[in-house]
Subunit: 340 residues, 4 copies
């Protein structure tokens, strides 16, 4: 088959590799019908993720069709249309049992293994370990172009942003960074859509280059609230500046929910913040909200398909990466990649 | 002045009484510009509330103008436009300090004293004890016809329904009883307005006579969810049947938030419910969300004025009670009562 | 093999039946080294649990040794010493993924299936479905006589009592009913052991016949607190009287955590309770706290073995039931049952 | 009267100043019977707190006797024995009503004003504004030497450490820094006293110079847990190193509760932490737990008096500061300062 293989910092190729195959009784092999690219893949390509070694197939998001099942698998069968989520989970370690498979102790101490610790989903086929506890059946009423964004972006915005930030009805919410994940936080907060002004503000705010966000912007957001700041401030970029901006927007007693993947330390102004009675949360997605999100997409409450702004085929993988890498210049949010 | 005086079960009169006057240094006297009637007033008139004795002026909701302040009052002055909320709070007992003035230990062990333990707001003037910690200034951008519903209905729906029920973005919510308080719960949940079908269902559901709610209705609501029930079921009526209906709608792991004022015991089917991992909450409003709600009304997020369906003047008090008592027949939600 | 078989209301026999055997790839067969009896088993024997049909092997608690594993099982092998908990869980349904396997949608809509929907643990061997996600390895430092109480009693007291009741450091806690589960709640609250007087009171309180608990007792407990009641009141019996007692002990704003299995409706005085701002929780154990509890037992923080007051061998099963059925008269808490 | 006056960085004097006097109707004047010194006072003396200007009387903790009350004060009378807490609260702003007077909008946007924005408690008398909502009556069964530590240290450890860190029964807790506040966190967690080893470890750990805490210590604490870290890690010092140590001790999914007052930014390793699903909380004490703590002290559950290791009289104020400033060398925790 063909797959996108990592060959060290800055190097990748869509090339011939052995087909994915069952290795353990709990494995399933999935033919990839739709995949996409995540910001983390760009980090990996820059050589920022040491655990990813040369030869690794990239990608951790897919919708596909089961082609083969291990002998321990009873819940899925060839032909099933499935969502392959970013998190693989054993379902039995202490973390999985608490509903926190982001730190599944069995699959690697961390639930994110595709395109990281094992071969990933930017490929014609992919082997899915612990398939019974990891895969999700996709209802007929949800398209591939919708489901693909439930593999990572939408549950991340919802779980790590909205839920960890403890957003409650009535809260004012700022989202710093209206990329795919920031938009996901906005989509899954949902509710505040009567408050058009603030949301449009947040969108516009996030759409600007993060470097350009300055003191005036902060003052403007503060002014939009009661002069104290928002109840929940969601960071959806992953740079020190954006986290500091998010922190500066929150009122005393509020929450800062960091979603962004950071590559460097952040110098937190604890001399000002210690007294603010705020909460800073952060974390990897658990993907346990996928059943809920699938229903919300199926019922039309979340127009997940809007996140896909550009489409490519497998053999345009390089072009897809180029467009996604320069998302702002290309007005791109997420790319949808399918077989020819 | 004139006021509505309770004269024992079934008897009341809009009659001449002594003017309200300062009694304690922390008192304020308010000229009532707008008042309304609450379901609790109907209960009192039926003789259901033993603590209300003959001669008591009824009512616990008002918007008005400060006419006189006690010598200990520095935060309000004659001429100030204020909201007199259902709850009076000392601001210093252990309950007030925890943000739970519904059980203020100073004003009577219970924060609801107007038209209950002291004279109330269905009068030309009213004495407000612990005024500094109890009254709220009304912003210019909020009208009397909006503010009056923040005295009780809206904070009750929001605090005792939405917040106690721990409604989170993404949850499905059923509201049993779309009267003033049920509608308040719907208004302050806000968000779920993309989910028209379910909300319309809830409205329609609540608008029917509670006695008519039958097994088919429950099955229909369950069918609208994932077959298990809603995440949060809000009871906003106060009868055994409606609480049992609310309880029957909730999924395992969900919340039942009782808002209704009950007059009789409720036979809870604990033989079925003990195993359901549900949470049943209940309580009196704290009104501590009023600052938040005032902002939401001022910004147009909550169209509070829609709750007032009928208007009357003070001398039409009897007619106002008649219309409100037969709310369903009169398509009434809340009445707005003002001086001539 | 021999097992305790249910033969309709009031009838049971320790008799010869076919050996437990692998039926599905995810099954494991466990040789039972220690089992015990639960109050629920007594209810079943009275014919109170309609789902239990004649011929069913009773029991849902065991510690044992793996003798055979299905071909899908990789996490356990013959010879492993394991805890068979009251809850069987698939690890992949929406409920299991949220950490709430008490309502596992796969194993039967309810996680409790042993001695209920499938054959149970009061037998020489038992088949454990979904074994990988259900069984727990028992550390060497935990004895069978300790581990057996982690199958149901201890996690029930901890999860359904202490955690659902949201007990926080500093809270005063009342436990109504100091049977095995009430004692488990006390053991896992742990902390309040400096407050000997109140705990001894609770123990003594619970040790009396529930029917004898009268108005004076309630007044005494209220007096022990600030006159308002306890922060958390845990019901650990399962009768209307005991739930009402628990409800009468709680302060405004507090929690009532029902652990008891109820067989009849409970007439809740909602006319008094609606205004109390309390929370009533109830539910089946999830057993997801077992890893935590195993560590607490291993480190000596929880003396689980103290719950076993009487020991029997398999062929004394009838005697074991008799002693447990008359627990108060026999000063019995839990019985420990082992092969000869 | 005499009071300790700040005269710029490094300069202070116990000198003659005008007596404290009623300025506003809600004021009370308190004769100081016991006061103490807080780490914050040391920061002020170093010139670190810009809002404190020359001429300010220092101190924000006192137990004393009411000598005079403003005309608006009805809840306290001359002769009353009272606790003057670190936080002054109006009881009516949105923050006070939510139970978060640490950010009282009326008294200064921040509830801490004694020895900061107005004259403080290291004086023979002190004026207490908003006295009715700020002062606490001290029960006869609580001594001055106990009550003085409820003005700041104990509620800080309990609210900002234990409660903000969401400590639950069964959790493992590490406290970095066993000074007065760290010890308060330990005292109010209470419960874990059966787990002597870990607590002694934490104490010993905190008693060492924070700079000496090295990688081996972290590894040792991690080893004491399940290899993943503690459930709640409480920082009670206020340096970058100690916050980073606290952060390194917590397990995935756990909480870091920062209590320390920081004077410089902290470079948080977000490149490692973003994926850990942790929560970092921080804030100023609200002191709303004082009623609960007073009861716990009165009942003997918290031996608050143990925090006072050294006693001084007013005219030994300089010596008291010297001992407290070199707390470690003097084996000092808190000093108790009284009139001659």
């Amino acid at each position: 088959m063909k797959a996108l293989v990592y060959h060290g910092p800055g190097k990748k190729a869509w090339e011939e590799v052995p087909d994915a195959a069952i290795q353990e009784p709990a494995d399933v092999v999935v033919r990839v019908d739709t995949t996409t690219i995540c910001g983390t893949d760009l980090h990996i390509l820059q050589g920022d993720v040491a655990a990813v070694t040369e030869g690794r197939i990239l990608g951790h998001e897919a919708v596909g069709t089961v082609t083969e099942v291990g002998e321990a698998v009873t819940g899925f069968a060839p032909g099933d249309r499935v969502l392959v989520p970013a998190i693989t989970k054993c379902g039995r370690c202490a973390y999985c049992q608490r509903g926190m498979p982001s730190h599944c102790q069995t699959v690697g101490g961390i639930g994110w293994i595709f395109g990281h610790l094992i071969d990933g989903t930017q490929a014609e086929t992919v082997r899915v370990p612990y398939a019974e506890t990891s895969l999700y059946a996709v209802p007929d009423s949800v398209t591939n172009e919708q489901a693909i964004f439930l593999a990572d972006s939408l549950p991340t915005g919802y779980e790590v942003g909205v839920l960890a930030g403890q957003v409650r009805p009535g809260d004012t919410v700022a989202v710093v960074g209206a990329g795919a994940v920031g938009l996901s936080a906005i989509l899954t907060t949902g509710l505040w859509d009567t408050n058009k002004f603030r949301l449009e503000k947040a969108l516009e705010f996030g759409a600007t280059d993060a470097v350009e966000v300055g003191p005036a912007t902060v003052a403007e957001v503060i002014a939009l609230t009661d002069g104290l700041g928002v109840d929940v401030s969601i960071e959806a970029v992953g740079y020190p500046e954006t986290l500091l901006t998010a922190a500066s927007l929150v009122r005393p007693g509020g929450s800062i929910a960091n979603i962004g993947v950071h590559g460097t330390p952040v110098e937190l102004p604890m001399q000002d913040m210690w007294i603010q009675n705020v909460r800073l949360t952060m974390g990897l997605v658990d993907t346990v909200s996928i059943p809920t999100l699938l229903k919300m997409v199926a019922s039309g409450r979340i127009p997940a398909e809007k996140m896909g702004t550009h489409s490519f085929t497998f053999d345009q993988m390089d072009e897809a990466y180029d467009v996604f890498k320069n998302a702002a210049a290309n007005s791109a949010l997420k790319v949808v990649i399918t077989p020819a």
